[in-house]
C-alpha cells in the first residue's frame, strides 16, 4: 500500500497539467480539479488508517538503494496533516468555484487559477510527505511559487503592493533555507531526516545549535512567529477571499509542521525551551493586541492568525508528549477555523461590499445565516466550551501546568489572556457588523466624523468613511433594498468548513488520542528512523 504515498503530490500535479490544457473549458477544469482533490482526500483518509494501524509508511522513489534516493515518509502526524489539508483545500476550491461562477468575471484570469491552485496543493502534500530536508525545500518552493501567483492574481495595484512584501520575505527565507541545507550537508553528509537524526547527535553542540537556529529561523518566517511575523498582516488581506482563506489555513501550518518535525526528529536533545516559549508568548500577546486595534475584519483575522500560531509554538516549546499532542490538535483545529473565518469574511465582503467595520452594520437581520456562521466560528476560535478551540487550549494549558516551570505557567496565563482578547476582538467585530442596526452604524459614523476638525475633514481620503458613503448608506436604509442573495455554493462551502470545525469538536476524543499517539511516536525518534532505514543502511 506504500504506492499510495506519491499520489497526494502526483494527482494535483497531473490535475494542474490537465486544467492548463483544458483552459478553454472552465466546466471541465472545475470537474477535473474537484475530482482529483476528492481523490486526494480519499487517499489521505486511507493513509491515516494505514499509518495508525501499521506504523509509518515509507517509499523510496525510483527504487534507489536505501540511503541514496529520495524518500517519502508518512507517519501519523503527516497523515493527519494531509487529511485535514486536503479536506480544506477541496472545500475552498468549491467556494472559489462558487465565487467564480457568481462573479462571472472576465477580468480575473480564472484559467490560470485552477492549475495554480492545484500546484499549491501538490506543494503542500510534498512538504508533509518529505522524508528529507531537500525535498521539504522543494515542497516549500512549489507551494510558494503557486502562492506568489495566487497572491498577485489579477495584478491590481493593491495586490502587487501586498504581494511584493510577501514575495521578497519568502525569497529571503528560501535563501536562508538553502544556506541551512548547505551547512547541514557539510556537517552531517546527508539531508535525509532519519539519517540526520542519528548523525546530528555526534556533532559538537555549537554546530548543532547553529544548524537548529538556522532552520528554526526559516520555518519561523513561514509560520509567522512573532519577531518574523510582520509580513503576514500586510500581505494576506488583499488577496481574493478563497486564496486568503487557504493561505491562512494552510501555509503557516506547513511552517508549524516543519518546526514540530525538526524539534522532535532532528534536535530532540535541544528543546530550546526558553527561546520557543518566549517567542510563543510574544506571538500570542502582540498578535492579539494588533487584532484588537484593527478596524477591518480581514486584517483583524490576519492578526488573530499570527496570535494563535503562538499556541502551537507554546506546545512545541514545552517539548513534552502532552505539549506536542496539544500542538497537533491545535493545528488541526486552527486550520479549519481560520479558513472558515476568512471564507465568511469573503462572504461579508461580497454581501456588504466591504470588510471595514466602520462601514458595516445591521447585517444580522438581512442575513441571519451568515451571522450564525460567524458567531459559531468566533466562539470556536476564542475557545468557548464545548468547541474544539476550548479543548485544544485546555490540552495545552494542562501540558503547561504539568511542566510547571515559572515560564510555562506564565505562558498558560498568557494563553488565557489571549483567548479572552480574541473573544473581545471578534465579539466587537460581530456586534458591529451584525448586531447594531444600520441606523446606529450611521449615527456612530456621523459622530466620528464630527469629532474631526473640519480642516481634517477636507482631507477626507484619510478616513474610511466618506460623506458619499453616508448618503448612499442612508438611501439604502430608507429603501431597504440592500438584500442581496448569497451565492448558494459559496455559502455552502463556508458552512461546510464551519461544520468540519464542529465535527472536530464532536470527534475530539478519538482525534486527541490520535494526536497523543502521534506525539508518543515522535518522542521516540527510533519509531521514525526504524521505519525509514533498514539496520544495515544507517
Amino acid at each position: 500500500m506504500t504506492n499510495l504515498l506519491p499520489l497526494p503530490v502526483l494527482l494535483p500535479l497531473v490535475g494542474a497539467a490537465l486544467t492548463l490544457a483544458l483552459r478553454h473549458s472552465p466546466r471541465l477544469q472545475r470537474l477535473v480539479s474537484i475530482t482529483l482533490l476528492s481523490g486526494v482526500v480519499a487517499i489521505a483518509a486511507v493513509l491515516v488508517y494505514q499509518t495508525d494501524q501499521h506504523g509509518p509508511q515509507v517509499l523510496w522513489i525510483g527504487g534507489w538503494a536505501e540511503p541514496l534516493g529520495i524518500s517519502l515518509v508518512c507517519d501519523r502526524l503527516s497523515a493527519l496533516m494531509l487529511l485535514i489539508s486536503s479536506l480544506v483545500t477541496l472545500l475552498v476550491l468549491v467556494f472559489s468555484i462558487g465565487q467564480g461562477v457568481a462573479d462571472n468575471d472576465r477580468d480575473t484570469p480564472l484559467t490560470i487559477y485552477y492549475p495554480t491552485y492545484l500546484v499549491l496543493c501538490a506543494g503542500i502534500g510534498n512538504a508533509f510527505l518529505a522524508g528529507d530536508l531537500f525535498n521539504l525545500f522543494v515542497g516549500f518552493e512549489v507551494l510558494l511559487f503557486a502562492s506568489y501567483v495566487l497572491i498577485t492574481l489579477g495584478g491590481t495595484a493593491t495586490r502587487i503592493r501586498a504581494g511584493t512584501t510577501y514575495i521578497v520575505v519568502n525569497l529571503l527565507s528560501s535563501l536562508l533555507f538553502l544556506i541551512a541545507l548547505a551547512a547541514i550537508y557539510g556537517a552531517a553528509g546527508t539531508v535525509n531526516l532519519a539519517q540526520l537524526s542519528q548523525r546530528l547527535g555526534d556533532l559538537g553542540h555549537g554546530v548543532t545549535l547553529v544548524l537548529q537556529l538556522l532552520l528554526l529561523m526559516v520555518f519561523a518566517i513561514k509560520a509567522a512567529v512573532f519577531p518574523l511575523s510582520a509580513w503576514l498582516p500586510d500581505s494576506y488581506p488583499t488577496a481574493p477571499a478563497p486564496v486568503t482563506a487557504v493561505f491562512a489555513g494552510l501555509l503557516t501550518k506547513v511552517g508549524v509542521y516543519a518546526i514540530i518535525r525538526m524539534q522532535t526528529l532532528l534536535f530532540s536533545d535541544s528543546p530550546l525551551h526558553g527561546l520557543l516559549l518566549w517567542a510563543a508568548l510574544l506571538t500570542m500577546v502582540i498578535g492579539i493586541l494588533g487584532a484588537v486595534a484593527q478596524s477591518d475584519i480581514k486584517r483583524m483575522l490576519s492578526f488573530t492568525l499570527v496570535s494563535h500560531i503562538g499556541y502551537m509554538i507554546f506546545g512545541i516549546g514545552l517539548a513534552t508528549p502532552a505539549g506536542f499532542a496539544g500542538a497537533i490538535f491545535y493545528v488541526v483545529h486552527h486550520i479549519t477555523i481560520q479558513t472558515a473565518l476568512f471564507l465568511i469574511a469573503g462572504l461579508i465582503e461580497r454581501f456588504a461590499g466591504s470588510t471595514s467595520l466602520s462601514r458595516l452594520g445591521g447585517l444580522a437581520p438581512v442575513s441571519p445565516r451568515l451571522a450564525i456562521l460567524f458567531f459559531i466560528c468566533f466562539m470556536n476560535l476564542a475557545g468557548i466550551p464545548p468547541l474544539s478551540g476550548f479543548l485544544g487550549k485546555v490540552g495545552l494549558m494542562q501540558a503547561g501546568i504539568d511542566v510547571g516551570t515559572p515560564l510555562a505557567i506564565t505562558l498558560v496565563v498568557g494563553g488565557i489572556v489571549t483567548s479572552l482578547l480574541t473573544l473581545y476582538a471578534l465579539a466587537k467585530a460581530w456586534s458591529q457588523a451584525f448586531w447594531r442596526t444600520p441606523h446606529e452604524a450611521l449615527v456612530s459614523a456621523v459622530a466620528d466624523a464630527r469629532d474631526v476638525d473640519l480642516r481634517h475633514l477636507a482631507e477626507r481620503d484619510e478616513y474610511d468613511l466618506e460623506l458619499s458613503d453616508l448618503k448612499r448608506a442612508a438611501d439604502a436604509v430608507d429603501g431597504q433594498d440592500s438584500r442581496i442573495a448569497l451565492p448558494r455554493t459559496m455559502f455552502a462551502a463556508a458552512a461546510a468548513v464551519t461544520a468540519l470545525s464542529l465535527l472536530i469538536s464532536v470527534v475530539a476524543g478519538p482525534l486527541y488520542s490520535y494526536a497523543e499517539r502521534s506525539a508518543r511516536d515522535m518522542s521516540h525518534t527510533s519509531v521514525y528512523v526504524d521505519a525509514v532505514l533498514s539496520p544495515e543502511a544507517r
Binding site: W64, A65, P67, L68, F134, V138, E141, F145, Y148, V149, T152, G155, A157, T158, I160, R161, A162, G163, T164, T165, I167, V168, L171, L172, S174, L175, L178, I179, L181, A182, A183, Y185, G186, G189, T190, V191, D234, G290, A293, Q294, R299, D451, V452, D453, H456, E462
Partner: protein, 168 residues
C-alpha cells in the same frame, strides 16, 4: 555497485575537513552584496540581490561538497577520485528555482512599473495612513502644548496617537 557508490559518497563527505578559503570568501562577499541589495527600495535591485545571494549560496554548496574530483560516473572515474554528486544535484535544483524567481519577479517589477511608473516596494497603505496622521500631528498649527484647552484639534491629536499605537 550501489554499495560502492554509497561508500564513495560517505568518503567524499568526510573529506570536507579542509575547506577552500577562496570559495568561502567568494561566497561571503556574494551573499553580503546580495543582502545589501535586497535591502534596497527598488524591486529590480532586490532581484539582483537575490540573484547574487543565491549564486553565493551555490558556491557554498561547492565548499561543502569537499575536494574537487572527476565526474561522478561509475566506469569513468574510480570511486576514490569522484567529486560528491549530491551537492551538485542540489545546486542544479537551486539554480532552476532561481531562474523561475528571476522570471516572476521581473514580471512583478514590470507590472509595478506599469501601475506606478516606478518599481519601488511601496509601504503598506495602513502604515502610510498612520504615517500621514503622525506627520499631521507634528505640524498641527492649532495644537499648543502649553495652552490648557480641550479643543477639537486636541482630541483629534490624541486620536492620532491612539492610531499610532494601533499601528505598532
Amino acid at each position: 555497485m550501489t554499495r560502492s557508490t554509497t561508500l564513495a559518497v560517505s568518503e567524499t563527505a568526510n573529506n570536507t575537513a579542509a575547506p577552500n578559503l577562496v570559495l568561502i570568501l567568494v561566497c561571503g562577499v556574494l551573499v553580503a552584496a546580495g543582502i545589501y541589495l535586497i535591502l534596497e527600495r527598488s524591486l529590480s535591485r532586490v532581484l539582483l540581490g537575490v540573484v547574487l545571494a543565491s549564486n553565493g549560496i551555490s558556491v557554498l554548496f561547492l565548499v561543502v561538497s569537499g575536494r574537487a574530483g572527476g565526474a561522478p560516473i561509475i566506469g569513468v572515474t574510480s570511486t576514490d577520485k569522484m567529486s560528491d554528486p549530491l551537492p551538485q544535484a542540489m545546486v542544479l535544483t537551486a539554480i532552476v528555482i532561481t531562474l523561475a524567481t528571476v522570471g516572476f519577479v521581473l514580471a512583478l517589477a514590470y507590472r509595478q512599473w506599469q501601475l506606478s511608473n516606478s518599481d519601488d516596494v511601496q509601504d503598506d497603505i495602513e502604515d502610510a495612513k498612520i504615517q500621514r496622521l503622525a506627520e499631521r500631528d507634528r505640524t498641527s498649527q492649532t495644537y499648543d502644548a502649553d495652552a490648557e484647552s480641550t479643543t477639537r484639534s486636541d482630541e483629534a491629536a490624541t486620536e492620532d496617537e491612539d492610531e499610532l499605537e494601533e499601528g505598532a
